[in-house]
């Protein structure tokens, strides 16, 4: 019976970060992936934040398949037939080293996985881990759907994604709550490179992201996005599952209506759709986070709810938690300590000291506030769009009267007290 230092379940960003860090330090690592090839089961927007990967593979820019570096970020608040927003574009984002890139996950994950293999890990694909093997309270290995497929190790790192079936089956945490996950659907639309670049006012290699909020989610708590890749656009929309459940709106219908929004339609016109995907995003934040370590096991990435929903960050938290889990293992190995729950508490300390837990703590109240206050997704987008329309329409009405009209529209739909309350809630949640 073969025994490894570590088993890593899953070959997404968190699993790859963990497996790479462990293997590079000389540990015997087996990584098990259920897809035909690494990346074939993985879905993301997708934006890659350089910093998290740079701390693992400093030279990644020379090798990794990257689409466009982002030089402009647009934030749109949409009403039914309009949007108001901010665009931030800076030449500073056009200087190396670039801060973020669009990527296509299947290509990127394949590259990352090759790095893991080169570092010395054994990467096994087309193999689903079905259960954790326990010795009393301690995880000692995993069972796979291969014949004689039991594998053993000192530590099992669960990087098995948002559904986190393994830890659930083992009783480490309960089923996900529909209020703690968002369902996102997206399409990839191919366009000639020149068309894309002129439409978004960028040169080769430069990219734009548009994050959207408002009527496109039809009153549900969620956001939309449009990202530029080399020769394609990624367009998607995501809302909390609890809201989808209640409203019973087909997500593909929501996406189709978003694609037909008068502000969005011209940007994607002529795009050839080549893939339609859906994915859950764990957005419950700190309050929904499960126990992420125990005797012989650790959880990294989406499986541990490591997503900063407010800033649309996930893959960087995934890579960082994967790296920190691996560094915890290396430290314990070096000190000759075992992988007991009490020793693995060092993982939690590393998480607490990093931006991961600091950011999740900062925004711990946000999911609850957005849940309880749907006006942020409906009333306000409508009000600010109408305010812009009123001020920008030249029709002989004096500006003072227009201001009064706008103020009245705000107080009548949200009352002065409601407005102040909302401002206070946001301030409390964001400070």
């Amino acid at each position: 019976m073969e025994k490894f230092d570590a088993i890593v379940v899953g070959a997404g960003p968190s699993g790859n970060a963990a497996a790479y860090t462990l293997a590079k330090a000389g540990l015997s690592v087996i990584q098990i992936e259920r897809g035909e090839y690494p990346g074939s089961k993985n879905v993301q927007g997708a934006i890659l934040y350089s910093d998290a990967l740079e701390r693992i593979i400093p030279e990644f820019r020379d090798e990794a398949p990257l689409e466009r570096h982002i030089i402009e970020q647009r934030m749109w608040v949409l009403d039914d037939d309009s949007y108001i927003g901010t665009h931030y574009r800076s030449d500073a984002f056009n200087q190396v080293p670039y801060n973020r890139y669009t990527i296509l996950r299947t290509q990127f994950d394949k590259w990352f996985s090759e790095k893991v293999s080169q570092a010395g890990a054994m990467v096994i694909c087309e193999t689903t881990v079905t259960d954790l093997i326990m010795d009393g309270q301690r995880v000692v290995g995993v069972r796979t759907d291969r014949e004689n497929g039991d594998v053993f190790a000192d530590i099992v790192i669960l990087a098995d994604g948002v559904n986190s079936l393994l830890a659930k089956k083992a009783g480490f945490h309960p089923e996900l709550n529909p209020g703690d996950v968002a369902l996102a659907v997206k399409e990839i639309l191919f366009l000639p490179q020149e068309t894309l670049e002129s439409r978004f006012n960028v040169k080769e290699g430069e990219g734009v992201v548009i994050e959207m909020i408002g009527k496109i989610t039809q009153g549900l708590m969620g956001t939309g996005f449009l990202y530029t890749n080399n020769e394609s656009l990624t367009i998607g929309v995501g809302c909390m599952l609890s809201d989808f459940k209640e409203a019973r709106i087909p997500p593909y219908l929501m996406l189709e209506m978003m694609k037909n929004h008068p502000a969005i339609k011209p940007l994607i016109e002529g795009g050839e759709m080549k893939e339609y995907t859906a994915h859950l995003i764990p957005e419950g934040g700190l309050k929904a986070m499960p126990q992420v370590y125990g005797d012989g096991w650790m959880i990294v990435g989406d499986s541990g709810m490591f997503v900063n929903a407010v800033h649309r960050e996930g893959s960087n938290l995934a890579m960082t938690t994967g790296r920190l889990a691996a560094e915890t293992v290396l430290e314990l190995k070096q000190a000759g300590k075992d992988m007991s729950k009490s020793n693995l508490a060092a993982y939690r300390t590393r998480l607490d000291d990093s931006f991961v837990m600091k950011d999740l703590s900062k925004y711990k109240d946000m999911p609850g506030i957005f849940h309880a206050n749907p006006q942020f997704f409906t009333t306000y987008p409508e009000l600010v769009n109408n305010a812009a329309k009123t001020m920008l329409t030249v029709d002989g009405v004096d500006k003072k009267s227009k201001e009064r009209e706008i103020l009245k529209s705000f107080t009548s739909s949200r009352s002065l007290l409601g407005l102040m309350g909302d401002a206070y809630k946001m301030w409390r949640a964001l400070r």
Binding site: R34, G35, E36, G39, S40, K41, N42, V43, Q44, A46, L104, R105, T106, Q107, D109, C125, E126, T127, T128, T130, T144, D145, R146, V162, N163, L165, E175, L176, N177, P178, V181, L183, V185, E187, I188, S232, L241, F244, K245, R248, I249, P250, P251, Y252, L253, E256, M257, N260, M273, K274, E275, Y276, T277, A278, H279, L280
Partner: protein, 96 residues
């Protein structure tokens, strides 16, 4: 607006594990007799669940995107048995 999700799914690549669906409805009688909302028939992004005329819910997993939505939104009855497909089977994303 009418959207044909089957047309979208047609663009995707699958390796279907014939005769071994990875998701099943635990007790079909619960869907027809007890579940009034049948949200799976609306919210599944691949439209795998269909509300039949006789009040029952049918499930065909061939187009499944393996997201997990159906399992999590069935929180009133926990009537979905959900597992990953066997290694190598199911959706195979081209771009992700």
């Amino acid at each position: 607006m009418n959207v044909n999700v089957e047309e979208k799914l047609f663009q995707n690549r699958y390796k279907v594990d014939h005769g071994r669906p990875h998701i099943s409805i635990i007790n079909p009688a619960v869907c027809s007799a007890e579940c009034k909302t049948q949200q799976c028939t609306q919210v599944c992004p691949a439209n795998c669940y269909k509300a039949e005329g006789n009040g029952s819910v049918s499930l065909i997993t061939d187009g499944c995107l393996e997201c997990g939505t159906c399992r999590i939104i069935c929180d009133d009855f926990r009537n979905v048995d959900w597992d990953y497909p066997r290694g190598g089977y199911g959706i195979l994303f081209k771009f992700g």
